[in-house]
Structure formats: structure tokens, C-alpha cells
């Protein structure tokens, strides 16, 4: 029987009367990799924050190597050998790798305050080598890719002598290659006897990696067991609490012949090259590619956020000159960006202010005065919120920052719905939201298509595109590498197209 390393016993935690965790109990055996899954709000982060010393439980406790373990702050957790690799990396972009790794315990010359840079560099090099990272210790983190930064975070965890490592959504910003490398390192760490907790919405990855799975729902453990007891479907149904026979709602419409958007030979040096694309009415067009393939850049160019040097964008048969967001919106375009916190929402504003942001002029009198019809706006927003099932307090009082990820994404989509677009570009619309909300977003997409809009759906989850789209266009290294009709959807071929230009890579599904 493998040695029990970490035990959770009856952990409970409430925030202002709301139960976040109730009676959590499970064990993490030494050298095992445990997958922790659950919808957003199920309590995964809260539990890990308790493990990492950021929060303290109201009842219950933990035992580490048989001893009582109750860290009062992250430093104590680190000392006990627990390292928490957050989803948002905590690296300082203006400092070097070496500085980042040892920022709180830089090696010094004896008792003087002066840093022994050579020692720091050597130790950094050793750590980087153990992770197969060929980087100079003095490299500024600014210059690293997200994948490299993630590995630096892991190096940081290892440098503190961590025995237990928690990974919170580690692959969201990684390329496929970087994900491979991460998984190899994880296997390596397991061989070294480290124990790990892996939190992810990517259930395929979880199944591939872990030894055990623990499912959280509404703050309780609803299921746990060895990996082989689970399939993706069972994981989802345990997470959601009901049988979801379908992840994707069925499509009700078929693409029309009428063209909404046509892209001819679009090029911007260094970013995209010779892009040809057509989007029809009532169509859901998928845009697939690995990270860095230029999909988001293309979307931004189409919407008018970035310039382009050659080619044409034709909307409704009219060639567009000039690049301008306001022109695009006027022509019926909408753009749900991949980073709702930075470019999709006004975090400190109410739902009404957010949802009404694009369509504001339509709720006002004529320019130049443009007096607002506040009540009309509020009513319209309330209707949209109901329609999209946004769960929150009153829409004119609830701030966007207090909403869950799923509700936030719905607010962003709702904002664009109010401008009645015909061309809807959505970049990773289901990133970071839970399964229930995902289904609702898919239903909204179907609905939009059925009513005559054309949707350009950008995603790095192939499953999602296969389940939702009429056609999939594949990009790689800034160019279109292939297009597939619905009846030709073949994961192998699509992935091959996505990897074109790199070494050929066989990876079955996700």
C-alpha cells in the first residue's frame, strides 16, 4: 500500500454564510498524481488555497506525512514542501529567470546584503537543465513564451524542494508541443516520487495523466476513485450532477449560399499570409490552429483592431477600405475576444453598463445630444440577461467583477447581441467556463446561426469545433493550410494540417 502523504479530513469552509466546501475528505498517496475536477464554483480553488496556505479552513484539517498540517500563509506551505502553480503565473516580467526563482532567498556573500550572482546563476542552470529548458539564467522573463514561463514556475516550485505540487489549469496558454513537454516533466516528477494534484477542465488530458480522480460538486466530494473507473462522459455527468447525453446541442440550420464575409488574399507581413476565407449566412465556420498559428491575429485584423497590408475584406459584397473598429461594428460585425477581463468587460461596471456598451447610441436621442433612455436600456439588458440565463443580482447593481467566469462570458456575448450583428467572431468563447455554461453558450451560437448570422468560431479545442461547426478552416504559421466540410471531419487530417510546417506529429484526439 503506497505511503499516505496528504490527507484531507472533514474540511469545511464558508464565506459570509455561503458554504464553499463541506466535509472534504480524500487522500493523496505519495508519488501519485491526482486529478481534481469540477465545475467553476465547485470549490477546487478554495480547497487548493487551503492546501497552499492562502486560506484557513473553518473546520477539519489536513495531515501531511502523518503530522498535523495547517499553514497560516503561503510561506509556511512552501516550507512544508507544498508548491502551488497558479493559473495566472506569478513571474516578474522585468526580472531574469534567476532573479525570479530566488527572489525571496537570493544567495548572498556571507552575511552581506550583496547577491552572489554566480551562485544564483549556477543553481538556476541546474534547475533548468533538469527540466530540459535550454535557457540562459539571465534571460528576462519578458522574452519567454507562455510555455517557457510555465516551466520556469515549475522550476521555482522544485527549487523550494516541493514534495507536493498543485497544477491549476496549466495548459490553457500552452502550445501542443509545450503541453507535451509539460506532461513529460510531470511523468518525470512522478518517477522522482513527487506527489501532484492536477486541476483542469481538459478532461482528456486528465484521463491521460492521472492515477486517481476526485470530483467536486457544490463544495462536496461526489465521487472519487482510480482513473480507470472513469470516462469523459461519466466525469462530466458526475461534475454536473445530471446525465448529459450531449455536450453539444444539435444544429438546426444549414449554411445558406448567401455570403456575408469574404476575405481575399489578406496579408500582413510577419503575421498572416494570403488568407482566403468565406463566411455564409446561417453558417458556423470553425477556425482551428495551434497556439501561435495566427488565428487571433487574423480575427483582430478582420475586426479592424490591427492593420493589413495586402488583400481585401468584403462584407455583403462591399469592399472595405480603411481599418476601423467602428466601421466593422457599423457593418454588422461583432468580436468576442479571448481575454474577457482585459478587452471584453468593464470589471468595475454594472451588468447594464457592460451589456449596453456597444448598443448605447441606439438607446439615445439623436446626436449631438444623445440623451440616454436609461429605463429602456435597463429593460432591454434585463431581457437579454434573462434570455441568456445570467445568474446574478439586479443588473443595474451587480458589478461584472463579482460574476463567475461563465456569467461574465455571457455578459460579453450579450453585449454584442444587442447590436444585432450579422457576422459574429468568437475567439475561445468557452475558455475558463464550466460545462453547464458551455452548453448554454453553444445553444446561443446555434440560435444565432439559425436566425441568419454567420459565426466565425475560433478554438483550440478540436472537439468543440467538430461538435459545432459546418466547416473547419485550419491555420498554421499564419497561413490557411486546409478546409474541411462537415462530412469530411477527420481528426487526424485536421491535426496534420495544423502541424504542417512543423515536424509531423501523431497525437490522437484531445
Amino acid at each position: 500500500m503506497p505511503e499516505l502523504l496528504l490527507q484531507f479530513e472533514g474540511i469545511s469552509k464558508s464565506f459570509f454564510g455561503v458554504h464553499a466546501l463541506q466535509d472534504i475528505a480524500f487522500v493523496l498517496p505519495k508519488g501519485h498524481l491526482l486529478g481534481l475536477i469540477g465545475e467553476n464554483g465547485a470549490g477546487k480553488s478554495t480547497l487548493m488555497n487551503i492546501l497552499g496556505g492562502v486560506l484557513q479552513p473553518d473546520r477539519g484539517g489536513m495531515r501531511l506525512r502523518g503530522q498535523d498540517y495547517s499553514p497560516r500563509n503561503p510561506a509556511e506551505a512552501t516550507e512544508a514542501g507544498v508548491a502551488f502553480i497558479h493559473q495566472e503565473l506569478n513571474l516578474f516580467t522585468n526580472l531574469s529567470i534567476a532573479d525570479n526563482l530566488f527572489i525571496d532567498r537570493l544567495p548572498r556573500f556571507g552575511k552581506s546584503p550583496f547577491i552572489n550572482k554566480r551562485a544564483a546563476r549556477t543553481r538556476t542552470r541546474q534547475l533548468l537543465e533538469s527540466l530540459n529548458l535550454a535557457l540562459a539564467p539571465d534571460t528576462l522573463v519578458d522574452r519567454l513564451t507562455p510555455g517557457e514561463r510555465q516551466l520556469v514556475e515549475i522550476a521555482k516550485a522544485l527549487s523550494t524542494g516541493a514534495e507536493i505540487i498543485i497544477f491549476d489549469e496549466p495548459t490553457t496558454s500552452l502550445t501542443a508541443g509545450e503541453t507535451e513537454r509539460l506532461f513529460a516533466i510531470i511523468q518525470d516528477l512522478r518517477r522522482q516520487g513527487k506527489s501532484m494534484v492536477y486541476i483542469s477542465h481538459n478532461l482528456g488530458n486528465v484521463l491521460e495523466l492521472v492515477d486517481e480522480i476526485v470530483v467536486l460538486r457544490d463544495g462536496r466530494v461526489v465521487d472519487q476513485g482510480p482513473r480507470d473507473d472513469f470516462t469523459i462522459d461519466t466525469m462530466i455527468s458526475r461534475m454536473v450532477g445530471r446525465d448529459i447525453s450531449q455536450i453539444f446541442p444539435s444544429r438546426q440550420s444549414v449554411p445558406a449560399d448567401e455570403t456575408l464575409l469574404e476575405v481575399r488574399g489578406l496579408s500582413q507581413p510577419g503575421i498572416v499570409k494570403d488568407i482566403d476565407l468565406t463566411l455564409h449566412k446561417t453558417e458556423v465556420l470553425g477556425l482551428f490552429g495551434l497556439m501561435g498559428s495566427g488565428r487571433t491575429e487574423l480575427a483582430r485584423i478582420l475586426f479592424g483592431l490591427e492593420p493589413f497590408e495586402r488583400g481585401q475584406i468584403v462584407i455583403d459584397g462591399v469592399v472595405c477600405d480603411g481599418v476601423s473598429v467602428r466601421d466593422s461594428i457599423r457593418r454588422g460585425m461583432a468580436f468576442v475576444t479571448e481575454n474577457r477581463r482585459e478587452e471584453g468587460l468593464l470589471m468595475e461596471a454594472t451588468i447594464v453598463d457592460n451589456v449596453g456598451l456597444v448598443a448605447l447610441p441606439t438607446f439615445a436621442s439623436a446626436p449631438p445630444a444623445r440623451l440616454l433612455r436609461a429605463r429602456g436600456l435597463r429593460l432591454a439588458v434585463t431581457r437579454v440577461a434573462e434570455c441568456m440565463r445570467i445568474k446574478s443580482g439586479p443588473v443595474h447593481r451587480t458589478l461584472a467583477k463579482n460574476l463567475s467566469g461563465g456569467n461574465q462570458q455571457k455578459v460579453v456575448i450579450g453585449k454584442w447581441l444587442m447590436s444585432r450583428p450579422t457576422i459574429f467572431i468568437m475567439d475561445e468563447p468557452t475558455r475558463g467556463i464550466d460545462v453547464g455554461a458551455k452548453y448554454e453558450v453553444y445553444s446561443i451560437i446555434n440560435d444565432l446561426a439559425a436566425r441568419g448570422a454567420g459565426i466565425l468560431l475560433i478554438s483550440s479545442e478540436l472537439e468543440e469545433l467538430v461538435g459545432m461547426c459546418d466547416r473547419i478552416v485550419v491555420m498554421s504559421k499564419g497561413e490557411v493550410q486546409g478546409a474541411f466540410e462537415r462530412d469530411e471531419f477527420d481528426r487526424e487530417r485536421i491535426l496534420q494540417a495544423a502541424f504542417k510546417g512543423h515536424q509531423a506529429h501523431q497525437r490522437g484526439g484531445q
Binding site: 483592431l305 478587452e343 470589471m347 456598451l357 440616454l372
Partner: protein, 358 residues
């Protein structure tokens, strides 16, 4: 039971205090309470003359704060307001003055071109005052335009842009007049700043109109919502189709306009075009805005808050001068007040967070 009653009374009192503290009108309550407290010691404070004094100090300062508020809501700052005051004061003065002493002004670069011992080409005519005022307002808006362009189009940090503006335009004001004050302004102009209808000064009407316009724009127009949106997240605003550059430029133009209005009122009251007008006011403006509750981070602000902030600030200065405290007490008290105001703001934010989650 006696102690239970006492406890209940304490509970009610505490709830009242909490309600007052959390209220948006907090600074107003504070002003009223302070005024009442001071009245107990100095009944003179409520005399007609003193109230008139308070009032005449409030309106020009409020004009400045209204303009600064728009820029603060955008998440910026306008350090050049006082130098706009100085420059417009000089421009207006030069156009409207009826007499210029040659020994003082012959070194001015505009001597011979625009200026002569009789003043400018239009002095003494009926046009002088209206043209002078229009010129002042236009110059204020032009400087605001320059500020806005630098911040919006060149994406330069507002602090540095308006700091440089401040240096440049106050330098310009001094250059044009060789540091001399321009006197002998026409009575019609001075009326605006110092005249009154009954107990109410003209400056009140001017600033009241300004305040009403500002309030309507912020609360009831699309432009107002755009101001707040840009202040809360400029990137989201850009993606959502808000004409961010135009909005930012308008904010700074309005700030410049308000500074020019304040200049009209102050110059009228002081009776001259002064190249050093308002030099010490800048930090007062920001202090009053902060005390009123306008956030330095952007995205928040109300005309009423500006009013309350200015009210409190002016009451404070008034009380200090009434108490016949030595002049150096004023900066000390001002500093203490702004620190206390900030502390209270921190306490209020914490209280409010707890209320929301409860």
C-alpha cells in the same frame, strides 16, 4: 432593563454613524456637521458677509474641479489647469485693458503689434469684453485640445503631458507680459467675477450652469457613459466601438474650458490679468476632488461629489482664517484633512465590502 436600553441606543447610534459614513453624501454631512460645530464657537460664521465670502470662493474653485473631474474620470490628470488660468488671464487682460504702462510693457513681444499704451486694438469698444471672454475660453479649449491630442493620439502619460503643458504655458504667460500684471480692465468684465444680483454673485450662475451641463452629460448622455467606460477599461472600450480618442480629447478640452471659466471669474474678482494667477491652486483642486470622493484611478465621479469636496475645502479655509490662526496653519490643516479624508475612504471601502457580502 437599563443596560439593554443603553445597548439598543448604542446600536442605533452605531447604525446611524455607519449609514452616514457609507452614504455617498458623506462629505456633505461632514461639512454640515463641521459648520454646525464651528457655529457653536463662532456664530459669525453664519453671518451674511461670511457666507458671501465662502460663496465667492467656492464657485471659481468648483469650476476648476468640474473640469478636473472629467479628466480624472478618464483615468488621467490635468496638471496644467492653473497655467491655463494664467495664460487666459493674460490673453483676456491684453485684449480688454484700457491702459498699459509703456515702461512695464514695452519689452513684451506683442508691444507694437497688438499692444499699445491704450491697450489692444479693441479696447474701449463695446466689443472688448465679449471678444476678450471668447478669446479666453478659446485659448483654454485649445490648450486642452493639445493636451488631449498628446494623451489620446500619442499615448503619452497624462501626468507628464500636463506637467509639461503647465511649464510651457505658464512660461508663455510670463513671457508675453514680462511678468507684469495687466490692470485697468473694464468694469463690465470685473462685474462677472465680483458682481452680484442681490445676495447671489454672478459667478454662481456661471458655475451653476456649468455644473448642470456637466451633470447632464455625465448622467444622461451616451458621451457620459463613454467617459466612464474609457476610465474603467480603455481596451474594452476600443473593442466595443467607443470612440476613445475623441472622448479623451473632449475631456481635456472641457478641463481647459473650465480653467478658462475660472480664470474669467478670478481675474474679474482680482481686477487684473495676471501671469501668475492660480499658481498655488493646483493641489487645492486635486485635494478638493479627492476629498469629494472622485477616484484618482478613474471610472468614478459625480458633480455632487465635486460640489461637496469644494464646499468642505472652502469651509475649511474659511474656518482657518476666521480662527485667526497664523497663515502657516493652513497648509498643515489642509494636509491633515486630506490624510484623514483618505483614511476615512479606506475605512469606508472596507465597511462597504463587508456590507455587500453580508
Amino acid at each position: 432593563m437599563d443596560s439593554l436600553d443603553r445597548q439598543r441606543a448604542r446600536g442605533v447610534a452605531w447604525r446611524l454613524i455607519r449609514h452616514g459614513l457609507l452614504s455617498e453624501n458623506f462629505v456633505l454631512y461632514l461639512s454640515i456637521v463641521s459648520f454646525a460645530a464651528l457655529y457653536l464657537f463662532m456664530p459669525y460664521i453664519a453671518s451674511g458677509r461670511n457666507l458671501a465670502n465662502i460663496s465667492s470662493n467656492m464657485w471659481p474653485l468648483l469650476a476648476l474641479v468640474l473640469g478636473q473631474m472629467f479628466v480624472l474620470i478618464l483615468g488621467g490628470i490635468d496638471l496644467s489647469q492653473t497655467s491655463i488660468m494664467a495664460l487666459t488671464s493674460v490673453v483676456g487682460g491684453m485684449l480688454m485693458t484700457t491702459q498699459l504702462n509703456p515702461t512695464l510693457f514695452e519689452k513684451s513681444p506683442l508691444w507694437g503689434i497688438l499692444l499699445s499704451p491704450e491697450g489692444s486694438p479693441i479696447s474701449g469698444t463695446a466689443l472688448a469684453v465679449p471678444v476678450g471672454i471668447v478669446a479666453m475660453l478659446t485659448v483654454g479649449m485649445l490648450v486642452g485640445l493639445l493636451n488631449g491630442l498628446a494623451v489620446a493620439k500619442f499615448r503619452m502619460p497624462a501626468f507628464m503631458v500636463t506637467l509639461v503643458s503647465m511649464m510651457f504655458f505658464s512660461g508663455l504667460a510670463i513671457y508675453l507680459t514680462k511678468s507684469e500684471n495687466i490692470m485697468y480692465l473694464p468694469g463690465g468684465f470685473m462685474m462677472l467675477g465680483s458682481g452680484e444680483i442681490g445676495p447671489i454673485p454672478y459667478s454662481f450662475f456661471v458655475v451653476f450652469a456649468l455644473g448642470v451641463v456637466a451633470h447632464i452629460v455625465l448622467k444622461h448622455t451616451v458621451l457620459g457613459r463613454w467617459f466612464f467606460a474609457v476610465g474603467k477599461s480603455i481596451r474594452t472600450s476600443v473593442v466595443s466601438g467607443v470612440p476613445t480618442e475623441r472622448v479623451i480629447i473632449l475631456g481635456y478640452v472641457f478641463s481647459g474650458f473650465c480653467a478658462a471659466v475660472a480664470s474669467v471669474l478670478y481675474s474679474g474678482r482680482l481686477g487684473g490679468g495676471r501671469p501668475t494667477l492660480g499658481q498655488s491652486l493646483l493641489l487645492d483642486v486635486i485635494g478638493a476632488a479627492v476629498i469629494g470622493g472622485i477616484s484618482l484611478f478613474g471610472g468614478k465621479g459625480k458633480v455632487l461629489w465635486a460640489l461637496f469636496g469644494v464646499l468642505f475645502f472652502v469651509l475649511l479655509s474659511n474656518a482657518l482664517s476666521m480662527l485667526a490662526l497664523p497663515f502657516y496653519a493652513e497648509p498643515v490643516v489642509k494636509g491633515a484633512v486630506i490624510l484623514v479624508a483618505a483614511l476615512l475612504d479606506v475605512a469606508r471601502t472596507r465597511l462597504m465590502a463587508r456590507e455587500v457580502l453580508a
